[in-house]
């Protein structure tokens, strides 16, 4: 007789509030359903009540973890609407700031993974070392999170030679952390034991459910907006799109771990080749029309759609966040999994429900209606 098990929203606590309903037989999950909405704030509506300039702070607060990439994606889309040419220097600076963000976001992900795998020591070590990135971001931008460094037309703060030096030093200090994480993922590593073969998302299924970012790359598909549709200065920087074939939680972890080295490589190159010049362009006026912009957030492809009626307030802003796309992958990965692995699977895609909950509840259309929803 199958029984229903609930995970979240608040008992036990996941990183963010969401409720998973799992249909379990014996110890095996045979179906999964997701209920969202605990983070819904009505942001898309709020976008249409403020000016383009004010909205950038709102875009940032869709998600506090990948806040910078939201502002960049928003700014780039608005720049297109306004016909603004961003100075070269600003483009390079954007790459530096955004890769620093990818670093802190990926490290945070490993911290959370360690937490859900009950690897307390690893959790403390990773989160402790991660403070180096946070301190650096605070020094560069004035805030540890929600740093509002991108602005329409460029960036708000420059990187002086002195600051560049500090960045290089910090990257050097961070290499051992990435090495440590890699060691947790090698054949006998603590993470490997608990994540190998867990939550497998085969290549075809990953495509079917529309997974993005490291979740997709962990299933063997080389997809990265930085390469496919380059923005900022990514077309001038040399880096590799990391792919792993196994599709399990370990593969997704490996993708992220190896990406941290690529991010460091990008930052160093950008610092070496930083062109001189302005960091922000003159503001413009929005034309009547619509634009779409996309960027590669730490969790995958992020899409902004903005429609303008020519006033200083947008008529419609639509955001498709990576976690939204990846939710369907979690449900897929949970099916057939052992119950005790559920949490690791859920946290393996780095679900960011602050992102997802701009829209109303999604019903995972499993086709099967055997689960009785609570309430």
């Amino acid at each position: 007789m199958p029984e229903t098990v609930y995970i979240g929203p608040y008992r036990p606590q996941l990183v963010e509030p969401e409720r998973f309903e799992l249909l379990v037989e014996g110890n095996i999950i045979i179906d999964a359903r997701l209920e969202l909405g605990y983070m819904h704030r009505g942001i898309e509506k709020l976008f249409t009540t403020r000016t383009y300039a004010q909205n950038i702070a709102l875009a940032e607060r869709i998600c506090g973890i990948c806040s910078g990439i939201h502002t960049l994606c928003y700014a780039q889309t608005v720049e297109r609407l306004m016909g603004i040419d961003v100075p070269e220097r600003a483009k390079y600076l954007r790459c530096i700031y955004m890769e620093l963000e990818r670093l802190h976001s990926h490290y945070l992900w490993f911290g959370i993974l360690a937490h859900s795998l009950h690897e307390h020591e690893a959790f403390l070590k990773i989160m402790g070392e991660r403070e180096r990135v946070q301190d650096l971001l605070e020094y560069l931008t004035g805030n540890r999170m929600n740093y509002l460094i991108n602005t329409i037309g460029g960036v708000r703060r420059d990187i002086t030679p002195e600051k560049a030096e500090k960045i290089r030093r910090t990257l050097k200090e961070l290499k051992p952390l990435s090495d440590y994480i890699m060691s947790l993922l090698d054949d006998n590593g603590a993470f490997t034991k608990k994540t190998k073969g867990v939550g497998v998302l085969p290549r075809e299924r990953a495509l079917d459910v529309g997974a993005v970012g490291p979740t997709l790359r962990g299933s063997g598909i080389a997809s990265d907006i930085r390469k496919e549709d380059p923005y900022a200065a990514y077309d001038k920087l040399d880096f590799q799109v990391i792919v792993e074939r196994d599709g399990d939680v370990r593969a997704k972890a490996l993708v992220r771990a190896r990406e941290t080295y690529e991010s460091m490589k990008i930052i160093e190159q950008a610092l070496d080749n930083l062109p001189p010049g302005d960091i922000v362009a003159k503001p413009g006026e929005p034309k009547v029309g619509e634009e779409v912009g996309r960027t590669e957030a730490p969790r995958g492809e992020l899409v902004y759609y903005i429609r303008s009626n020519g006033t200083n307030i947008p008529e419609r802003v639509k955001v498709r966040t990576p976690s939204y796309a990846n939710n369907f992958a979690i449900l897929e990965m949970l099916k057939g999994e052992r119950l005790e692995n559920a949490r690791a699977v859920i946290e393996s895609i780095d679900p960011c429900f602050a992102c997802t909950d701009r829209v109303t509840i999604v019903d995972a259309k499993t086709g099967r209606r055997r689960i009785i929803a609570l309430r």
Binding site: P9, Y10, R11, P12, Q13, V15, E16, P17, G37, Y38, M39, H40, R41, G42, I43, K45, L46, T49, R50, A53, Q54, I56, A57, L58, E60, R61, I62, C63, G64, I65, S67, L108, G111, L124, M127, G128, R130, E131, Q134, D135, E138, Y139, T141, G142, N143, R144, M145, N146, L148, R156, R157, C352, F353, A354, D357
Partner: protein
């Protein structure tokens, strides 16, 4: 107090604060030394840390959680969403701020507050002294913390209130004074006000220990004198703003106008309503003609 067991509750915020609370657990903040642990079930907790502004869906869960935690049920609201809903204030699903739903004992302003601020706030609440010896206690140069007005420079124009990304600044006109008031408990700490202020009068400082038990106190304000209309006597614009505008016109923009300073000034001292009377329109037109003749070199 016995052991402190903290349960985190998040509803309708950006998640930033929640991450910073997790970050407090890292060794360098020595939270364990204070005898604090973070638990995963409300049944095990006696302190509740709230983040986010609470939406319709979170409300019931918040009430349930508050019921469940053990005495003394100390509630700490962390981050401006938990104080005032901040940037999401007007969002349609929002029902908070949390203190409208359950009693809140302490507030930690910030967006998000530094982990240092959270640790220090908790220590203060417990009556434990923390020595802020290490470098990381000092916020770096350029940090965006609590606001400060330069009372000499602020002319009360209200530009900051217009550009503010989080509706955190109010301009309140009294009979003869104007108050410009920043509610840093409603602020996103974006520093756009600092960037846009025409006289560089508002500044975000490096001060970040802002814990309070009364969220009506999270304000910084400046007061300026309002000018009376030379015709009807009603107040309408800050005195300093007129001085600033005149100076800008006659020295920066069009130095050739400086010989008309007095006339321009008297025209500016007439309020918006009185400017519409026929006599004043005629005079203004006459002045404009003379000004344009001047620059065209007639």
């Amino acid at each position: 107090m016995a052991k402190i067991s903290v349960y985190r509750f998040l509803s309708a915020g950006c998640n930033g604060c929640d991450v910073e609370i997790l970050e407090c657990l890292v060794p360098r903040y020595k939270l364990a030394d204070l005898g604090i642990e973070v638990v995963e079930r409300p049944e095990e907790a006696n302190v509740l840390i709230l983040t986010g502004g609470v939406n319709v869906k979170g409300k019931e869960e918040l009430l349930k959680t508050y019921e469940t935690i053990n005495p003394p049920k100390i509630v700490i609201a962390v981050g401006n969403c938990a104080l005032t809903k901040e940037i999401f204030d007007k969002g349609y699903p929002m029902v908070g701020p949390p203190d409208q739903i359950i009693p809140v004992n302490y507030y930690v302003p910030g967006c998000p507050p530094r982990p240092q601020a959270i640790v220090k706030a908790v220590a203060d609440i417990l009556g434990v002294k923390i020595e802020e010896k290490e470098d990381y206690w000092l916020a770096p140069e350029g940090f965006r913390g609590k606001h400060e007005f330069d009372r000499e420079k602020c002319m009360g124009c209200g530009t900051c209130a217009q550009v503010c990304t989080a509706d955190a600044i109010d301009v309140i006109d009294g009979p003869d004074k104007r108050i410009v008031r920043v509610n840093y408990g409603h602020c996103s700490f974006c520093a756009v006000c600092q960037d846009e202020c025409p006289t560089q009068a508002i500044r975000l400082t490096r001060e970040y220990h802002l814990v309070t038990n009364n969220r009506q106190t999270t304000m910084v304000s400046n007061e300026v004198d309002l000018l009376s209309c030379s015709v009807c006597g009603g107040t309408f614009i800050p005195e300093k703003q007129i001085d600033w505008a005149l100076k800008r016109i006659t020295t920066e923009k069009v130095p050739a106008y400086s010989e008309f300073s007095n006339e321009i000034l008297s025209a500016m001292k007439i309020c918006m309503v009185c400017r519409r009377s026929i006599k004043n329109i005629r005079e203004a037109k006459r002045l404009l003609t003379r000004l344009s003749e001047k620059v065209r070199g007639f």
